[in-house]
């Protein structure tokens, strides 16, 4: 209805510019949180964004799934009696891809909100700090979990099609899922904390990848030296200092995985408990840091 035809013109109004109040339903905080979650999750795979930004995540998803498909094809063709890769070993094998995905998507989830100051618009809606942090955290965890669990699902379905032992495969698949869930929590937490520190996307990417690769490079170099020196105790403790070896340690101690450490000297159950505590501590710590980061929204 154009402004000129508004019927009862009030006497005390000088200009009627046609302003009208919103009279629709107000969907509230939970709805806003859910929308933020689903938008962030879709955004992590480039859905609802430009075609160019779909290329990266989709390519990485394909790179994650391709080896699984090949492994399954080989296992079916050769009628092997077990898969050549353990479910828990798969993510460790392709850790570079997972690291890159985290580094590319964590900043895209938070940096642009900071850079274009849309973050203050979010908080002018009925959501609180905790809603924003939980939604972004959950979205990235789900995105990384999807990336790491899909190839495991391919392996599992393939293993069942190849008529491998059902109970054994199901147990391995379940262990693999728990392991990648822990990995997703840890990587998403670290990625978001680093990305939320800077409004520059490129810098966030570099920071995340630096922390993931450098710590792994340093740990595996020192582990190799400890292996040369014959100090096997040191190998199992050194894994505490990088995210991916942390996951490796936890799944070696509790999820029946074969460790990727030199000489397979993974942590024992006792040491593994420390690994698990550090992993959960880091995840909780990242959540805490994010909450602190967004307490005050300015840059």
């Amino acid at each position: 209805m154009p402004p000129e035809t508004v019927p009862q013109q009030r006497a005390d109004v000088i200009h009627n510019i046609g302003y009208r109040h919103y009279e629709g339903a107000r969907l509230g905080r939970a709805y806003a949180r859910r929308s933020l979650f689903s938008q962030s999750l879709r955004g992590a795979y480039g859905l609802g964004r430009s075609a160019k930004s779909k290329v990266g995540p989709m390519l990485m998803l394909a790179v994650m799934c391709l080896p699984a498909a090949i492994i399954v094809a080989v296992a079916v063709a050769t009628q092997a009696n077990k898969l050549p890769v353990e479910y828990t070993g798969y993510a460790i094998m392709l850790q570079a891809v997972i690291g890159l995905y985290t580094a590319a998507q964590a900043p895209q989830a938070v940096s642009r909100d900071l850079r274009f100051k849309t973050i203050s618009l979010y908080f002018s809606r009925p959501i609180k700090t905790v809603d924003y942090v939980v939604a972004k955290f959950a979205a990235l965890v789900s995105a990384i979990f999807f990336l790491t669990a899909l190839p495991l699902l391919i392996l599992y379905v393939g293993a069942l099609l190849a008529k491998l032992d059902f109970a054994e495969q199901t147990k391995g698949f379940a262990q693999g899922l728990v392991s990648v869930a822990l990995l997703s929590l840890l990587f998403a937490g670290l990625g978001l904390v680093l990305a939320a520190m800077t409004p520059r996307r490129g810098f966030g990417v570099a920071a995340v990848i630096a922390v993931l690769t450098i710590s792994y490079g340093a740990v595996s170099t020192v582990q190799a030296i400890a292996w040369d020196q014959g100090s096997t105790d040191a190998i199992s403790w050194l894994g505490l200092f990088s995210p991916i070896t942390l996951v490796d340690g936890v799944q070696t101690a509790f999820l029946g995985a074969t460790s990727a450490f030199p000489g397979e000297y993974g942590p024992s159950t006792g040491t593994g408990l420390v690994y698990l505590l550090v992993l959960l501590g880091l995840t909780a710590g990242s959540y805490g840091l994010l909450m602190r980061r967004y307490r005050k929204v300015g840059l």
Binding site: A96, L100, A104, G202, A206, A207, G217, V222, Q229
Partner: protein
């Protein structure tokens, strides 16, 4: 030859690279290398294989490419990203001069932050036995020239220069390089190692590429990347954020 180097552009680039938080990563990587070197040296005796493991496995394979990515893309990427490169391009300075100046600064920063710590770590680890420290330091310096040129080019070509650079450094050089031996021929790391192999005594350092091939590839890649970056900058369009 004032047409190749512009001191003001150099100063701005230098400050953008070493300003604030970006410098934190640049300083922390060499510090970590030296820390590992000192720790290992305190725990074990001077040992050629250990030195080779740390310098080849950590310094050349992980640290140099990462510093190259940060310095190379950082020299021009952020300016294109936030559009302030327009103010620079509007000045009566040739585009090729801008690129070459930025490249010189990026090479300087990368070399300083990778070659010097590598040399120091080499001396700490085994006192330059078999020329290992010098060999790896030269390799780091040579690699930083090529990395800077490549990543500077990436900075002008794509908005996602950091990701693209990391994909090259991590996926191509590390992952494919270890799986497919052909990929190693096309890797800056191996070209630099060919030079290190020549300098180092004994057969600890190995490369998959012969020295003449490596030198030719290094020089041509650096020159081609610089030229292409210059011509990209001439027809630059500053688009909005996707």
């Amino acid at each position: 030859m004032s047409s190749l180097y512009h001191p003001t552009v150099a100063r701005l680039t230098y400050r953008a690279l070493l300003g604030r938080r970006r410098a934190l990563i640049l300083f922390s990587l060499p510090a970590l290398l030296l820390l590992i070197a000192v720790a290992v040296r305190l725990l074990t005796s001077a040992d050629d294989a250990t030195a080779d493991g740390i310098l080849g496995g950590f310094a050349i394979a992980t640290m140099v490419p990462l510093i190259g990515v940060i310095a190379g893309t950082g020299a021009i990427g952020p300016e294109i990203d936030d559009g302030s490169v327009l103010y620079l391009l509007a000045k009566p300075v040739k585009r090729s001069t801008i690129v070459i100046t930025k490249l010189i600064v990026a090479i300087g920063v990368t070399a300083a932050f990778s070659a010097i710590p590598t040399l120091l770590a080499g001396f700490i680890l085994n006192g330059n036995g078999h020329q290992i420290a010098i060999a790896y330091a030269v390799a780091a310096a040579v690699a930083s020239v090529a990395y800077s040129a490549i990543f500077l080019l990436l900075g002008t070509v794509t908005r996602h220069a950091v990701v693209a650079g990391l994909v090259y450094a991590l996926v191509w050089e590390a992952l494919f390089g270890s799986l497919v031996s052909g990929a190693r021929t096309l890797s800056v790391q191996q070209w630099a190692l060919a030079l290190a192999q020549k300098i180092g005594e004994g057969d600890l350092i190995t490369s998959d590429v012969a020295l003449p091939t490596a030198v030719v590839l290094l020089v041509s890649v650096t020159l081609a990347a610089t030229w292409y970056a210059g011509s990209k900058l001439r027809s630059l369009t500053v688009a909005g954020e996707e």
